[in-house]
Amino acid sequence: MKSFVSKFTSAPAVREYGGIVASLIVLCVVFSVLSPRFLVFYNLLNIVQQVSVVAVLAFGMTYVILLGEIDLSVGSILAVAGMVAAQCFAIGLGFWPTLGLTLLSGAIMGAFNGVLAAYLLLPSFIVTVATMGIFRGLVSLPTGGLPAPINNDAWLAIGAENWLGLPIIIWIVLALFAFNFVLLAKTVFGRRAYLAGGNKEAAVYSGIRVKRIKVIIFTISGVMAAVGGILLSSRLGSAQTNAGLGYELDAIAAAVLGGTSLAGGVGTMVGTLLGALIIGIINNGMSLLSVPYFYQLIVKGLVILLAVWIDVRSKTNRG
């Protein structure tokens, strides 16, 4: 028995995710004890759906942070993408062209960030703080700040319908997770991203085209934000000009909770997914427990602190 436990706790996966999985389990146990409605299948689906947008943003953010950069504009890109979709439908385009144009808009905005950061050498924090404002301004232009309804049935189905017994949103999140997991962990591109983030200069000297990677990564982040915009606008049935406001912080927090280092070079998609789940579970659990709003803010902050603390401790204790 003992050898089984010690074997288990020394497996690489446990070493890497032990702390955060422990936090996750603790949270689930606490909430299950406090609320009988927490550990109900329907509610678990709820949690994943509620956290889906942040999770998708966090997937993109993981690459960005891994590279030692930051992308604060994802919330605004998300809003623009939703508005692009609404406007496409408004001029009579169908589902597929709209989908394509929406993703393209995300890619363009992301690439814009990337080019400024990589080729004009501007710090990505400033670039994306600026484009956060610019894109947020752009989203308001078509409607003067008011929300734009979306009535395309296929689009609305994304946010409302099930497929094989699970909400389509969840399938999309799972598919994107699988895609990003493979891209980051299994491909040459992913390897290069880690290296470039771990030591930019050494990467350049090893022939890695760091600038190109940076542009690609910001583009991916933009596309993920656009997917976030698609999910959100289909869930809400409208494009909101303040959609995604402040989501960048949740996305970054999810990635960092999941072990991605803001100094670059360290991080995984699995960690990010777990980090996003922690955030979703905290929000959902407190909401089920009817914690008053201000106390929710406090408790959420404390739980996040506790979760990183457990994770950091479990990592330093082993060496």
Binding site: Q49, G144, G145, P149, A160, R235, L236, S238, S287, Y293
Partner: protein, 279 residues
Amino acid sequence: SASAEGIGASLLTQQHPFYIALADAMRAEAQAEGVPLEIKIANQDLNKQFADVEDFITKGVDVLVISPVDSTGVRTVIGRAQKAGIKVITVDVPAKNVDVTSYVGTDNYAGGVKAGELMAKMIGDKGKVAIIDYPMVASVVARTDGFKKAMESHPDIEIVAQQAGITRSEALTTAQNILQAHPDLDGIFGFGDDAALAAASAVASAGLEGQVKVIGFDGMKEARDAVASNPVMVGVIAQYPDEMGKVAVETAVKVMNGEEVAAEQPIEPGVVTKDGETK
């Protein structure tokens, strides 16, 4: 339904005195009626409102009282609640493209018109006025639209600026800059109490007390006090969140008891000036 989970309320924000008063009134009425009430705050984020309503559906409340973050956007989640057998009452902000059991709220457009008329009266039917607004919120847009509509019948009044000032400190900065750009201004209409109070302090620090009149909207205590004591603050359009909250919960209880309720229960805004309050 018989589960007697009571009322779930999803309110737009908790960062505004109007909504705090509304929430307080709802709680008081629920206690008086002896029904469980839980209030969630959407923080002006429709997605959060969706999540909150979904959590109410999970819990199985009987009635949902909601002040939509977005009138049109909220329709899908209202539909979902109704499909789960929950009756829906909208409060303060109506929902579009979906039928709800009842709507309780201020007529913001009418309030805006009243503000415009009051402004015309206060500045002697001519001069330059400015608006401090919050362009992302439909109810505020209705107010400024009403204000501008009223101004159409006063051709000698010119609206020289309309700028956003969402929080009190932003509104202060906006007001200062408007006064800097238009030193001959006669009046400022603030979309809410915060905007108006900030404008009043900007007027005072610019030394334009004799010249610029400020009118607000909402009519919470701080603004009413200012109307009484501060010469710059000449009036405020009053909403009645306590009444609104009380009616909303009363309506919800009636619905739970299977009684009929009116589909629209408008609450007419009042006008507070130094001469008193008119409804």
